[in-house]
Amino acid sequence: MSLYSFGLEPLSCHAWNKDRTQIAISPNSNVVHIYQKQGKEWTKIHELTEHSGRITGIDWAPESNRIVTCASDRNAYVWTLKDGVWKPTLVLVRINRAATCVKWSPLENKFALGSGAKLISVCYFEKENDWWLSKHIKKPINSTVLSLDWHPNNILLAAGSADLHCRIFSTYIKDIEDKPGPTPWGSKMPFGEVLLEYKECGGWVHSVCFSPSGDALAWVSHNSAISVANATQGKEVTQLTTEHLPLLSMLYVSETEIVAAGHDCCPYQFSYKGPGCLEFVKKVDIPKQSSKGNMSAMQHFRNLDKKATIEEEETGLGSLHQNSITQLCILEGPKAKVEKFSSVGLDGAMVVWDFKVFHSKLDLQLS
């Protein structure tokens, strides 16, 4: 596990390049900084400054090496690297409210953009006119779209929104792709078709995630609960209410294990083995060892004088992050067997979590 602090500003979002040597982050402003890893340090190599509003989403396509950014200025740009400089291309998303999240599809031929205009803009590149076009999914979304995730088949898109619903849409665009085959979620998939609409989420749906095979969809909502819908079991939904503060971001680290993090400042691991079997596994954080060293008599009296107490007070949290974690991202390993993941938070820090370490630690304890 390693922590790197990118300053004092909260990190709204982050994205990695293909070989994980560069990271694109936005420190709660309208600029994207790209840092290059050099040894143990990160040095800034690029600044992308086209947006006029706060950047709300960044996604870096690994194969085609394009970055898409979206901001509260109702715009999205696709950046391509030309001669060592990132050049932006405006995407006509046609929204009249802020964009909230953006994600490249698995094949990177289109991306989805969620917005406060109660719609999702699915954008694809049209070669004849050399520009990005967008198609809107409006019905039946009733409020801001807070999170998006793509199904491995490049067609299905899950969306969590502030109208307390979690939905799966089809984004089949016949100009650029072939008709998709049937999936456990459904077989008729014209553009905008709703294949799942769950309305008892209990709170704003902050993050959605498909399992590596795409047969299950998990989401975390603001009522401190995590839920999983299983397509192979009749789209049955299992919800687990937790005793922690609401979770904001989640990842599937294997077909059955989920890691989620949020306002409690540390990631938690959950396990889903079937309908009705969603349970909390453990906290993925090594607690700080509190150093209660021997205090000299002088320090005792000094503390008594200044703070009216003789105890050493811990003013920091016991977790690595000192403020809410806003986004988790897979770092190493295929989706079905994640070995490392990264988290950024409101404390301006980026932490790399080593999943292998926790597996081995568990083994040591058992043996």
Partner: protein
């Protein structure tokens, strides 16, 4: 200063009513929810079976009903049950509840905080402490985010 003589009645128009995309909360039929059975709960309190009374009063919560009387009646009944417990029995009582029971108890506790009477706040605070250790901050978050509450 000159007085504005043009009518300002337009300022009192509720523009949201004319919005065709206005979000309408789905109302489930809640007319049949009458709250817990008062007679049953009273008899359980009288007979000294306080654990049973707690279980009984947490049944049939009037979550969906628009009838405010039912809600107030239920809250009064719940308060009665909670006050009749001895302090030492609180913890055992909370342990006997399942997750949804603890969440529901938390909802009633916060409802009780809204209208404090003579001694209710002290009793509710004791219950709040025990419910918090059982349900964690998550149960309080669920009280705040619940759209349909008791």
């Amino acid at each position: 200063m000159s007085k504005n003589t043009v009518s300002d009645r337009f300022r009192k128009v509720d523009v949201d009513e004319y919005d065709e995309n206005k979000f309408v909360d789905e109302e489930d039929g809640g007319e049949n929810q009458l709250g817990p059975d008062e007679a049953e709960v009273d008899s359980l309190i009288r007979s000294g079976n306080l654990m049973g009374a707690l279980q009984a009063v947490l049944k049939n919560p009037p979550i969906n009903t628009k009838n405010q009387n039912v809600k107030e009646q239920t809250e009064g009944l719940v308060l009665k049950v909670l006050s009749s417990f001895k302090t030492s029995d609180l913890e055992k009582a909370v342990q006997s509840l399942d997750k949804t029971g603890v969440d529901l108890l938390m909802k009633y506790i916060y409802r009780g905080f809204e209208r404090p009477s003579d001694n209710s706040s002290a009793i509710l605070l004791q219950w709040h402490e025990k419910a918090l250790s059982a349900g964690g901050v998550g149960s309080i978050v669920r009280v705040l985010t619940a759209r349909k509450t008791v």
